[in-house]
Assembly symmetry: C2
Homo-oligomer: 444 residues x 2
């Protein structure tokens, strides 16, 4: 008997009808002879409505009480889902984060999982029940308080449960057919990725692919959990995110995933050893660029600047230092960071301008980032050449470049980013023959 | 320092504005030097909305999951209330039923409290925090599941907390000024009762007074908790429900209650030893009457009938056996019970008609019940005479009569019950000089 963990986002359980549809799918999985554990998000806009209420009664809501408030959303959706399953004649039991043994640190609003002790879930499974767990929430042992995991928390809940219960697969249900080579809303010919390593997925997620949250992918990679990202609107096979270091080979993983899919996908398209060089292209418009102008070109200045930045807690991404102009003895240092953190970092830098000795600061929030992700990127010089040529031919200017083992990122003007995505997607032969179908809405 | 428990119903926390108003009142109580513990219901119509959703996904919702679902409502209101208090600069912490140590049996939907272990509440109070507790919900130790207490659950939560924390007073906030001598919507000249014993209150609640739930009054009586039923819309003194067996005298209780009220009520109106003979009049339209016609007038027949009724779990109230007609050797037995239980009991009786040997059954759901409550009712023969005369003069027919130590109940036609209430209220001199102000809405 396989153990399957399924995650359903807010758009999959937005109303009574959707909940009944999801209940049916869960029951089908159970009927196929699997044990089933489900992590579920709050219904549709519940979380936003609760946030609005909180801001109406308190301009700066206290974190402990915010978590108490927001965790009510999943309690509602999970109980309704359990009720719907029971009315189909199957035993179902819902569990809050604390009942499910989702132990976290005490950082309200963005708690990290420190332990998962799913004793009650295992008991319920042994008794033949379908288990429903509230996504997004946990419990701190020291304060005995309820916590929430922050953005993408329900994905993380599902992956953590899959790891703790040693599940055969963790299915992430969403409103698209899987992970695509690019955002299908921008590139209609984007093609679905059949399988991708967790490392590549990590780069795609970190660079703006919205289907899976980076944190869940990290957790899956660290604990060897195989993910199957698929649509809750059909039975098609989605995208397998696997850990290449696993002893199980890719063909087995695909077969495992396929066991719960219908089989009308192309046969013969899998060849377990053939990894596509380019996995996909992601874009991100949420970042800004800060340039520290006229930094004295003497050792230790970069360290001084980034120590100041680190103190603000900002997540910086790409860093580029220009070649020093010999005549001035000064250089410029640019870096990207989330727009939301821009003003804090500018303030921190300005406060110590005299001490560091730079001449000025520039802030630019009209940038776009494009990342090309795939295996063996650096060892294949042709990849960057092809990328830069495609952008040049489309008249798109590159402002910053950064590379890693499996990724090349470039920064362009924000208003050229969609053009950049399309030309790069085409240049690397990722265009599909047919056009992808996209449903609306996003969950948490 | 006094410890005050306050209960706010759903209509007092119906929206963000109401929550802010209640938060202000709580902070004022804290500022006056009291420790404060608050039990709160779900916001306005939340519970009904959740019930509707449950019935949409499951025609017969499973009890465990229903409790999981419904308990989310209080989680939302209590977190919002805590947020609102914190934004007024006071430390506030909310606790679920299980965090508050509200231990119940496992009867989902109508769980009974078996123990209250408010360790975390005491800790939070010692740290100077205002404590907010989810009303209506508890936790079963054996199943480790969340339970709900059923109708009036939040009143019971407040009283149970007051008992466990040895509170000085338990304030029940509502949308009327206190307990009235009759329903002010029917009798505009009903007057507010200043103080009433818990026994009399129990009779009023059991006979249809809706402001306090009978279960909460029972709990208060058994544990010696003094209640103060008052309006959340003003600072007037409400009604003190006290236990006459307490060593503290009524004057002290009133002074205690007054400490948190403004003092613009009539001075000199209290005389601790003077108990009004009649506390109030209550009416109830929720019952029906079953008459078992032609019961053989031989010993054991009544026992046989009421054993059958007891097996259905029905709560029967008044029982009247007519005098046997000597010619037939048969008699009629009538009793009242909640309308909701009528069909079940009729079915049970019909099944054993041959064995019991009665001739037929009559069902009448157009009855009204009026109860006159007060101390020393039976020892004062004039009370029943005055009651029957008042009804006779108003042309109202009495169909059944039943009496207890502190109550006389009569059954009339349903459509005459409001007239009956008014004439009885006047006959016993309960009419006030001015007209009571009534706000809309009811909580849970």
């Amino acid at each position: 008997m396989s153990l399957i963990v399924q995650k359903y986002g807010g758009s999959s359980v937005a109303d009574a009808e959707s909940i009944k549809r999801v209940a049916k799918r869960i029951v089908e999985t159970r009927k196929a002879g699997n044990e089933v554990v489900v992590a579920v998000s709050a219904m549709g806009d519940t979380t936003d409505e609760l946030l609005d209420l909180a801001h109406e009664v308190a301009p700066i809501p206290a974190p402990r009480e915010m978590d108490m408030l927001l965790s009510a959303g999943e309690r509602i959706s999970m109980a309704l889902l359990a009720l719907a399953i029971e009315s189909l004649g199957h035993d179902a039991r819902s569990f809050t984060g604390s009942q499910a043994g989702m132990i976290t640190d005490a950082k309200h609003g963005s708690a990290r999982i420190v332990d998962v002790t799913p004793v009650r879930l295992r008991e319920a499974l042994d008794e033949g029940a379908i288990v429903i767990v509230a996504g997004f929430q946990g419990f701190n042992r020291d304060t005995r308080d309820i916590t929430t995991l922050g953005r993408g928390g329900s994905d993380t809940t599902a992956v953590a449960l899959a790891a703790a219960l040693d599940a055969d697969i963790c299915e992430i249900y969403t409103d698209v057919d899987g992970i695509f080579t690019a955002d299908p809303r921008v590139v209609p010919k984007a093609s679905k990725i059949d399988r991708i390593t967790s490392e590549e997925m990590l780069e795609l997620a970190a660079n703006g692919a919205k289907v899976l949250y980076i944190r869940a992918v990290e957790y899956a990679r660290r604990h060897g959990v195989t993910l199957h990202v698929r649509s809750s609107f059909n039975n098609n096979e989605g995208t397998i995110v696997y850990n290449p270091s696993e002893t199980v080979d890719a063909a087995t993983l695909v077969a495992r995933a396929r066991a719960t899919s219908n089989t009308n996908t192309k046969t013969g398209s899998e060849s377990a050893v053939e990894e596509p060089l380019i996995a996909g292209v992601a874009t991100d418009l949420s970042e800004a660029k800060i340039t520290v102008v006229g930094v004295p070109d003497i050792p230790g200045k970069a360290a001084q600047i980034f120590t100041l930045v680190a103190k603000t807690g900002a997540n910086i991404d790409m860093i580029v230092q220009n070649v020093s102009a010999a005549s001035t003895g000064r250089t410029d240092i640019s870096f990207t960071l989330p727009k939301s953190e821009g003003q804090t970092v500018l303030t921190a830098l300005r406060a110590d301008q005299a001490e560091v000795g730079f001449l000025g600061l520039q802030y630019d929030d009209q940038i776009g980032k494009l990342a090309l992700v795939g295996a063996g990127m650096r060892t294949n010089a042709g990849v960057s050449a092809k990328l830069f040529t495609a952008l040049f031919e489309a008249g798109i200017n590159i402002e910053m470049i950064s590379t890693s083992e499996i990724r090349i990122s470039v920064v362009t003007r924000a208003d050229t980013i969609n053009d950049a995505l399309r030309v790069v997607h085409t240049a690397f032969g990722l265009d599909a023959d047919d056009v992808a179908v996209v449903h609306g809405g996003t969950g948490r």
